[in-house]
Every structure is written in C-alpha cells, then in structure tokens.
C-alpha cells in the first residue's frame, strides 16, 4: 500500500473517531473517560479469555468452540470455592486448574486422534460445548451467580482526577490483563517451552522431526489455553456474573477478538480485545440500540481490508 493510501485510510477511519472523541470530551468529559475505562477493563477480560483461544488455535489450528464453556466452568467452580472458603485467590487458582484439566482431557482423549481434521475437531468442540453447557445448567441451575470481589478490591476507589470514583476491582482488571499479557509474552519468548510452542506454530512437522515430543507440547499449550479461559471465568464472575448464555457471549467475543487481531498472535489478541472492548462499551453508552452493530462493522471492515486480521500472518 502506498503512503498516500495509508494516510487516506488513517484519515477515513481515524478522522470520525477523533471528531467523536473531541465532541464526547467536550460534551461530557466524565462520561467519556468512564466509558473509556470501562472499555479498557472489559478489553482486559476479553484479552485473558481470547489469549487462550488464540494460543490453542495458533499451535493446533484447532478452533476450540468449547472455549466459552471452559470459561463458564472455571467461573462456576471458582464461585463454589469462593463460597466455601471465602477466599478469592484460591478460587482463581481452582478456576485455572479445573479448566486446564478439562482442556487437557479433551486434548489427550479426543483431539490427539484427529490431527489435521480441522472441521471434525471444530464440530467435536461444538458438541462438547453443548454438552458442557447443559451439564452446568443441570448442576448450577439457571439463576445468576455472582462472585463478590475480595475485600481489598471491594468498593469504589475515590479521589481520581476527572472521574472522581471508580470500582477498584474493575480498575484492577487493567493491570491484571497487562500482567497476564506480559507473563504470556515472557513465557512464549523467554522460556524453552515457549520456544517449542512458537516453533510448533511455525512448522509442526519440522519440530517433531527434530526430536521434540509434539504431543506433549500440544497438551501443555491446550492446558494453558483452557486454563486461561477458566481464569477469565473467575475474573469475569465478579464483573459480569455467571449465567447460562455467558459462554456463548464470551465465545463470540473471543472469536471477534482473534478474527480482528489475527489468529495465533498474542499481541493481535491484545489489539483485538482493546478494539472490541472499547467499541462495545462506547456503543452501549452512546448508541445502546446499535452497540452490536458496531462490533459487526468493525468485523466487516477488518475482514474487507485484512482478511487474516490486523496482525495475522498467512497460514
């Protein structure tokens, strides 16, 4: 793309957004910044969930449509633990570990036997998501479960500039998401296992040929990816509450995030999550009826100009 077109698209897409931002700040500064914070914190949750999704996809080309169910599973189990022990941090750990174990079981018992059969794997995950969602509905019922945040994150944080007060827990999501992103980046780029995973993303067969147990790498990746969904479930259980149907919502969010950001890329997931989270909350705040349409328009625009997502590489 020539420099002219690059500038052209920046102006065509960025111009209206900038105009809107200036208008919104002038119109109601507090609303604008609260919405922005809401968007970024929601993006943080989306990132945690979608990072696992994109990790699994990047290595195994396996679209795990049961990812939303793992999110819900982690959330419910975290809820049970938090209710019984009264602690939130063990709940986080249990959510992560439980989803990781289920993910590991899925990889070891099913996906190992259908490598390369993308469509079949995808359909199996659809079947699994139906079954898991129904079992969860059976066990936990249809009512809304809400986890209360730990005492040290409860209540509003006062004395902030411009917006005065903001939920401490929500604000804490932002550093949490960033921390997980950084940890994931360090894990993928600075450890041996991360190196193997990246090598597997690039060329699975060659990695196997050089004497690495690819199945083990797959299992680890799947466990981490699934675990992140469960972790996100516990984090989201406080903010969004757990109810049947949330799994589909988070699955859709993960899908859009990785489609927009580019599949298999953690940085892409961060970008996609930021775009989706901010667009969704701004849509809800400024044009409630059409908030979903914004998501859709973003999807269409990205697909029209970058079919593999913003940071997507040709497979």
């Amino acid at each position: 793309m020539s420099r002219f077109w690059k500038w052209f698209w920046w102006i065509v897409i960025g111009g209206p957004i900038a105009v809107f931002a200036v208008w919104a700040v002038a119109d109601n500064t507090r609303l604008f910044f609260v919405t922005l914070l809401n968007g970024l914190t929601l993006a943080s949750l989306y990132f945690i969930v979608a990072a696992g999704f994109t990790l699994v996809f990047g290595l195994m080309r396996n679209v795990n449509l049961a990812h939303g169910s793992l999110y819900l599973l982690g959330g419910y189990l975290g809820y049970v633990v938090a209710e019984h022990t009264g602690w939130w941090l063990p709940a986080l750990a249990v959510g992560f570990v439980a989803a990781a174990i289920v993910g590991l079981a899925m990889q070891v018992s099913i996906f190992r036997f259908m490598q390369g059969e993308d469509l079949r794997q995808t359909m199996v995950t659809i079947g699994l998501s139906i079954v898991i969602a129904d079992i969860l509905l059976w066990v936990f019922g249809g009512m809304v479960h809400q986890l209360s945040p730990p005492a040290w994150l409860d209540g509003p944080l006062r004395g902030l500039p411009v917006i005065n007060a903001y939920s401490t827990y929500r604000l804490a999501l932002l550093p949490l998401g960033i921390a997980i992103g950084v940890l994931l980046w360090l894990f993928l780029n600075r450890t041996r296992v991360g190196m193997l995973i990246r090598a597997g993303v690039d060329d699975r067969a060659m990695l196997s040929a050089s004497g690495v147990n690819v199945n083990l790498v797959f299992a680890i990746t799947f466990a981490i990816g699934a675990g992140l969904a469960g972790f996100g479930g516990v984090v989201g259980a406080v903010e969004l509450s757990m109810v049947p149907g949330e799994d589909v919502r988070l699955l859709l969010a993960s899908l859009v995030v990785v489609i927009v950001g580019g599949m298999g890329s953690v940085v892409g997931a961060a970008i996609g999550a930021a775009i989706l989270g901010v667009a969704e909350t701004f849509g809800l705040a400024y044009a409630p009826t059409y908030s979903v349409v914004f998501t859709f328009v973003i999807l269409v625009l990205v697909l029209a100009f970058r079919p593999r997502g913003i940071l997507g590489r040709p497979a």
């Binding site: 679209v63 079949r120 659809i126 079947g127 979903v292 029209a304």
Partner: protein, 386 residues
C-alpha cells in the same frame, strides 16, 4: 515460499482425503442396479427411458410414502413431525450443499432463513400492526427471498475471504451479531418478543397453514430443493465447486475463479435456506430473536451432520431424527435435558461416524457386500461419475 507453506499447499486436500473413499462406497447405492434397459432400441419416448435409468424402486416407494404419509398419520405427526422435519431439512440442505459440495461450513444458514422469516413478518401481516406493512403474500414472499439471498451473498462475500475453520468462526460471529441486532432493535425487529401471528396465507381457497396443506407445501419445496441440489451438483458449476472443495489452489491454477464460485454457492444456499425460512416462520407462526440464536444456528449444523453431508437426502434424515428426539426425548429423559441428549448424539456421530447416518448406512452396506460386488463397483465408478 517456505518449505512449510509448500507442504501445506500440497496438502490442502489432505483433510478431505477421506472423501473419495467414502464416495466410492456411496456410489455403491447408485451402481448396484445394472438391469438391462428394456427400452434399448425401442421407439418408446425418450423421457420414459430417462426415467427407467434414473428411478429405482426405492425412489418410488419413498415418494409414495411421503405423499400418502399425512393420510396415515394424525395431524400432530403430519404437522409437528412431518412438516417441521421438511422445513428444517430444507434449511439444513442449504448447509449440506455449502458444506458437502463447497467445503464451506457456514453457521449462518439459520440467519439467512431467519432474515427471510423476519422479512415475511415485516412486509406481510403479523400481530404487531405498527411494524408489519401488511402487503399481499405474492409480493412479500418473493421480496423476502430476494432480500435473504442478497444477505446470503453478502455473508458469503465476507466469509469466502477466509478458509476452512475461519469460515465457521466468521459465520458464527455474523449469525450471533444478527441475533443480537434482532434482540436489541425494537423499531424493525420488535426486540425480544419478535413478531407473532405470522400465518401462512389462504390461496385458491386453501388455508396453507392447516396441517395437511402445509405438509404438502413443505413437501413440494423440499423436493424442489432436493432436486435443485441433485441437478446443480451435476452441472459444470457444481463440478467446479466440488473441485474447489477438494483443492482450491489447483482449480485456481486451472483458471477457475474460486471466489466467484464460492460466493455463487452461498447465493444458491441462501435461496434454499430462504425458502426453508419462509416455511419455518409459517410453521412456527412467529419469529423471535431466539429463532436465529446460537441454539438454532448450531441445531442446523447438528441436523446436517447427523444426516450426513455426502448426499442431499442427508439433512432430511437428520431433521427427522432431530425432530423425533426433540419431541420424544421428553418421555425418556427429562425435558430440560434435551440438549444433553442431542449434544451427546451429535458428539457420538462426529466422533464415530463423521459422515453421519448416511456414512453409517454406507459402512453397514459395505460390510455386508461381498468382494465381487465391490470389484464391480470399482470398475463402474468412472462411468457413474461421468
């Protein structure tokens, strides 16, 4: 181009390598009746010979059964089981056409059907007078179908830019987006409630919403869709589409416009789904965001996979099983556990018989057939494919 990319390019067809083997088994059902034609050399009309070549006894039996079925069954079985299976089967047929012959699994087929249904309710008559325009059916139905086909083409244009599993994700995202749009918009889609009291019109003195006429209406359009697909897969377009399914890169090298063929396949599938959607909205007499929610998007996939995607009869078989389970699982299990039952059945089918009931049937047949028959089939195969 790196070595990995080369290998991937060469192996694009690897995932579908099981298909030719399966198709050979499937053609067994076509090729096992080598009776000599009594019309050879006679001066009988050409259509009689054509019929003799193509119609087997089981075709006649199935058709006759379908026609007299409502006379044998109670209105409940005619309407709830028969007509619903046909309408759902027709929508799933569009997915079979896309997935089985085009290699594109679209989860947005119910969305296309739902768009047609919504258009029928919006332009025609419904319980919500402030939204429905109340136009006559002969304007509304073609208009609804045209709009749905345009939407399907647009969905296709968006999703063919991606391949394989990406298509599932993008069509799922589109489908869920439409669901939320219908859920949140009150000025056109009437939000959560949707549009109620959308009845089939009374034409030629027949109320087509009654169980018996509606059954025949659904049967007619299902047969039309079935034969349309049967016909299309033998046309140059259909053959090229199947070539693109098996190896898009080679077809592209041969000079076929891969994208255009795929988008056209989406349009055709959209047409079938739209007709099914009109039938389905008349069957339910209402359309709500729930009818285009994830639950139904995935149900259509379940129906298509359950029946098998190798032959256009598959989705109708799948729909019959699905509707029967839906109606009678209550008696065996608790009603709320329907999802568990159908999800489990779906999982079992995907895990153990990727070609659905048709694949199961073909496998059983192959097991009982002797080696002689099998060798005969393999020699006949080129002829049967031509």
């Amino acid at each position: 181009m790196s070595a990995a990319q080369w290998r991937k390019a060469m192996n694009t067809g690897a995932a579908t390598q099981a298909w030719p083997r399966q198709r050979r088994v499937a053609t067994a059902t076509v090729a096992t009746a080598p009776a000599p034609s009594p019309y050879a050399g006679s001066d009988a009309p050409a259509w009689l010979e054509w019929l003799w070549e193509r119609v087997a006894a089981r075709h006649v039996f199935v058709l006759a059964f379908l026609v007299i079925y409502p006379l044998l069954a109670t209105p409940f079985f005619t309407f709830q089981i028969g007509a619903q299976s046909l309408a759902l089967g027709l929508i799933a047929l569009s997915l079979t056409f896309l997935g089985g012959y085009g290699g594109m699994i679209s989860l947005a087929q119910m969305t296309v059907a739902g768009i047609a249904g919504y258009m029928v309710a919006i332009f025609g008559v419904s319980g919500t007078a402030e939204i429905s325009l109340g136009w006559p059916w002969w304007v509304v139905v073609p208009l609804a179908i045209v709009i749905a086909v345009v939407c399907a083409t647009f969905i296709g244009w968006l999703s063919v830019r991606t391949e394989g599993i990406y298509t599932i994700m993008i069509t799922l995202a589109i489908g869920v987006a439409f669901h939320y749009l219908a859920l949140q918009n009150y000025s056109v889609f009437n939000g959560f409630q949707g549009l109620q009291k959308v009845y089939a019109p009374t034409v030629l003195g027949v109320n087509w919403g009654e169980p018996l006429p509606f059954y025949y209406l659904a049967l007619f359009w299902s047969l039309a869709g079935y034969f349309l697909v049967k016909y299309l897969i033998r046309t140059p377009f259909g053959i090229a589409l199947q070539g693109i399914r098996d190896n898009p890169r080679r077809m592209n090298a041969l000079g076929f416009n891969v994208t255009a063929h795929r988008v056209a396949a989406y349009a055709v599938a959209g047409l079938i789904a739209a007709v099914g959607g009109v039938l389905f909205v008349w069957y339910n007499a209402l359309i709500t965001p729930g009818s285009v929610g994830t639950y139904w998007l995935i149900n259509i996939l379940i129906i298509a996979v359950l029946g098998g995607m190798r032959h256009p009869i598959g989705p109708f078989l799948g729909a019959i099983v699905f509707v029967l389970v839906q109606n009678f699982a209550i008696d065996v299990f608790a009603r709320e556990r329907f999802n568990l039952v159908i999800g489990g059945v779906f999982l079992a089918i995907v895990l153990f018989s990727p070609d659905g009931l048709l694949g199961l049937w073909a496998r059983l047949r192959a097991r009982f057939e002797n080696a002689d028959a099998r060798s005969r089939i393999s020699t006949q195969r080129p002829a049967s494919r031509a």
